[in-house]
Subunit: 118 residues, 2 copies
DNA sequence: TTGACATATACCGATATGGGTATATTATTT
DNA sequence: AAATAATATACCCATATCGGTATATGTCAA
């Protein structure tokens, strides 16, 4: 087996920064493909391919409008990411890190227990 | 170019669910590799390889303790993920989605403006 | 020193990827 | 119907991946 398909997960789909950029643009409202092409400065086929991935994981919805295809954000599949990562929020708090260092200190003392304080 | 290296980002590193599992275990405290092997039921080489990736993106720290290597969580690199994804939080709120539908409704009416109501 | 334990790495295979370029598909205007 | 615009897809390539298995490295014990 190789790496999990990009279409497996929102996790995998969103690992690509271009796709995050696309979502960031769409967060400002519906857009046609060419708008995205212009705004992101990417070749059109790439944009279409990224949009396909995003669509397959449900992160965007499409709507036909004349000869345009309007893509719209659907953030729902991002929820599991948020749920997962938010549990780690405290781990980058300063207070937590301070506590962490204290624990390190204690651990170090414990390690050198009984040895002379060189 | 192929897909971005797993060691590029926390985004990429964490796209793999096994690595998320490892972090979840380490959230409970420092662990030796074999502990992780037992707890996750994965072959040891795989665990070591995943730990390498996590180390390279700074998500874990290592400490030598005798013939054990103790791995510890460092959540800091997850912060950008949290920062990014939290901006989409409102997009899966029910209220927001309700608003969204209203806008759809308006858009549809606008589209059929002037045409006979078939 | 020898042996046992803990961990890391090397190697192999299959696979999906992202980028590029060309072309197909579909819709619109004239 | 023909030309044009908007978008999707088909190919090709190079590459890093994960899984598996074997082995190297390092540390402690007897």
């Amino acid at each position: 087996m190789a790496r999990a398909a990009t279409t497996t997960d929102a996790f995998n789909a969103v690992a690509e920064s271009r796709r995050r950029q696309i979502l960031d643009v769409l967060a400002g409202g519906e857009r046609a493909v060419n708008d995205l092409v212009r705004l992101l400065g990417l070749p059109q086929p790439q944009v279409s391919k990224h949009l396909r991935v995003l669509r397959e994981v449900g992160l965007v919805d499409v709507r036909d409008e004349g000869r345009h295809r309007m893509y719209r954000l659907n953030g729902r599949p991002l929820r599991p990411i948020h749920e997962w990562v938010k549990n780690y929020e405290r781990s980058w708090n300063e207070r937590f890190e301070a506590l962490d260092e204290v624990l390190d200190e204690l651990k170090r003392e414990e390690d050198s227990d009984g040895e002379p304080h060189a």
